[in-house]
């Protein structure tokens, strides 16, 4: 079935994007609000703080409105350009994200690109050359790296003063390699490609039109997953190595039950993942 890009399809995708983002933010807020420890703060254990001061601190950190009311007000606030004040860091969430996003974006972009390139290169070598030893080497390297915790990989790079993006790329590559290899292998075995090779079509055209062209939706899906995986791997890397990025912020927010920050992160991540999926869908 051929799917045509129509204004209706565009609008439908946009509508889905908005609904999913809003639901994502609400679900994240619900998870935080109803998790144990939400209404506790370390100051509850401080004997030098009076009950009145403690009550005031709780009032400052908690929003006791029903969740839908909180969420509606929060969304209204985002339209005014803010994501509220982080309860863990006592700073505007927008400022925190603005300062830290470039750090993580750079790490994730370089790490993802590196992971995808390395995965694609090794997958291509394994499939294109059809040499068993290359395939074994690629899988062995992938298996080796899968076993190493990303944080440990990052520490090894950190202590040797090497770029952490390479550590992230090496952590990501094995998680993408298997799927990329399967995609390329499927494309290689397809009758269409076989016919093209039989007709003497050059490797460049085969690669761009028959292999990559046919696998675009899966590649975009893989890119979306790669970015989410990269963010997940970036969190321990940033935390362990003290990188002032959003990953470290996300963990701090989770541990500190920082609702404004977590809602902001959920909205942004959901938007990002949904956007990538929508682009893939439209490209297909």
């Amino acid at each position: 079935m051929i799917r045509v890009l129509t204004p209706r399809r565009l609008l439908s995708n946009l509508f889905s994007l908005i609904v999913i983002v809003l639901l994502g933010g609400f679900a994240a807020a619900a998870l935080v609000r109803y998790s144990p420890g939400f209404s506790s703060i370390p100051e509850d254990l401080d004997p030098s703080i009076s009950p009145e001061t403690l009550q005031a601190l709780h009032a400052k950190y908690e929003d006791n409105n029903p969740l839908p009311v909180f969420y509606a007000r929060y969304l209204a606030g985002t339209f005014k350009g803010g994501f509220g004040i982080s309860t863990a860091l006592n700073q505007p969430v927008a400022d925190l994200l603005r300062r830290r996003a470039p750090v993580t974006a750079k790490l994730i972009a370089m790490g993802t690109a590196g992971g995808l390139l390395l995965g694609a290169l090794l997958a291509w070598m394994a499939v294109w050359t059809r040499k068993a030893y290359l395939e074994t080497a690629a899988f062995s390297l992938s298996g080796l790296l899968l076993a190493v915790p990303p944080a440990v990989l990052a520490l090894a790079f950190f202590f040797n003063q090497a770029p952490l993006a390479i550590a992230l790329a090496l952590a990501l590559f094995p998680r993408l390699f298997g799927t990329m290899r399967t995609l390329l292998d499927d494309a290689w075995r397809s009758p269409t490609l076989l016919a093209a090779r039989a007709r003497g079509v050059g490797p460049g055209v085969i690669a761009s039109r028959y292999v990559l062209g046919g696998a675009i939706p899966q590649i975009v899906a893989l890119l979306g997953v790669a970015l989410v995986l990269a963010f997940g791997a970036a969190i321990p890397i940033e935390v362990i190595c003290g990188v002032p990025g959003i990953g470290a912020l996300a963990l701090q927010a989770a541990v500190g039950r920082d609702m404004p920050l977590l809602c902001a992160l959920a909205l942004i991540i959901t938007f990002f993942v949904t956007f990538v999926h929508s682009v893939g869908d439209l490209l297909a």
């Binding site: 079935m1 051929i2 799917r3 889905s16 609904v19 999913i20 639901l23 994502g24 679900a27 994240a28 998870l31 935080v32 109803y34 998790s35 144990p36 420890g37 074994t136 899988f139 062995s140 992938s142 298996g143 080796l144 899968l146 076993a147 190493v148 915790p149 990303p150 944080a151 440990v152 520490l155 202590f159 998680r175 298997g178 799927t179 290899r181 399967t182 292998d185 499927d186 046919g214 696998a215 939706p217 899966q218 899906a221 893989l222 979306g224 997953v225 989410v228 995986l229 321990p236 996300a250 989770a254 992160l265 959920a266 991540i269 959901t270 993942v273 949904t274 999926h277 893939g280 297909a284």
Partner: protein, 248 residues
């Protein structure tokens, strides 16, 4: 030949794990308090940890926990992913949520005197259930592409039923992707179990797991003082390489 060697190694690892009470030199919780942080010796082949517990014994027992539960959790994730891959909006939503809070809620719901084994079973079960979204994304995209392929169109035009199409024509294509996801999820869940220790959902003391043994690698001084700290990493690497070789 390679496949046979890999199968043999995996079988040996599984056997050692099952026979842990027989082959482990000591009980995994026994503390030799006179010899903490000991290096390898005839008494302790891999040395001892910071509480004087034999590393080799703990590695053998840890294998039991991780080698059984991580693949089971991965299988749950992949099966759920196959079932739910058609729901792209749900998949996207689930990819973005902070699942750590679900684990915190699970911990709160569990009685405090839950046995360590029950606790870890529940933890891996929840990991399996919560981890379906990203394999589902891959399956979803592959299925979408297959729907537009000529051979599937022809199969439908020929009047072949959906069930037969799914099992005979689609599944062989998905099988390789499913295996690729499994081999990624198994070590991911082993490592995630260690991270869950930060919120109290990892394996409770004194039960060892590959996750909590691997967590020691984050302290370089521990590795310098006793290189056997790397043993769980080495074993996991061997298992992962063997899994590659036995892939369909």
């Amino acid at each position: 030949m390679k496949q046979k060697i890999a199968i043999a190694i995996l079988a040996l690892v599984a056997l050692c794990a099952l026979l842990a009470p027989v082959i482990a030199p000591y009980d995994y919780s026994r503390q030799f308090r006179d010899t903490p942080h000991a290096t390898a010796s005839s008494q302790f082949l891999m040395g001892t940890d910071d509480l004087g517990r034999d590393r080799l014994s703990r590695l053998i027992y840890a294998t039991r926990v991780s080698i059984l539960l991580a693949p089971a959790a991965a299988l749950v994730s992949v099966m759920l992913a196959l079932l739910l891959s058609g729901f792209t909006s749900l998949t996207t939503l689930c990819l973005s949520l902070p699942w750590i809070f679900l684990f915190i809620i699970l911990r709160a719901l569990m009685p405090l005197n839950t046995r360590p084994l029950e606790s870890i079973l529940l933890t891996f079960a929840l990991m399996g259930v919560a981890g379906w979204a990203w394999p589902a994304r891959i399956f979803g995209a592959s299925i979408e592409q297959m729907k537009q392929s000529g051979w599937l169109l022809q199969a439908r035009a020929s009047g072949i039923g959906s069930r037969r199409i799914a099992l005979v024509h689609v599944w062989p294509h998905l099988r390789a992707i499913a295996w690729a996801q499994l081999r990624v999820l198994v070590p991911a869940y082993i490592l995630s179990e260690a991270s869950l220790g930060l919120i109290g959902l990892g394996v409770a003391e004194p039960l060892p797991s590959w996750g909590n043994l691997l967590a020691e690698l984050q302290r370089p001084e521990a590795v310098h003082s006793n290189p056997w700290v790397l043993a769980p990493l080495g074993l996991l690497m061997i298992v992962m390489i063997c899994l590659e070789q036995v892939a369909p």
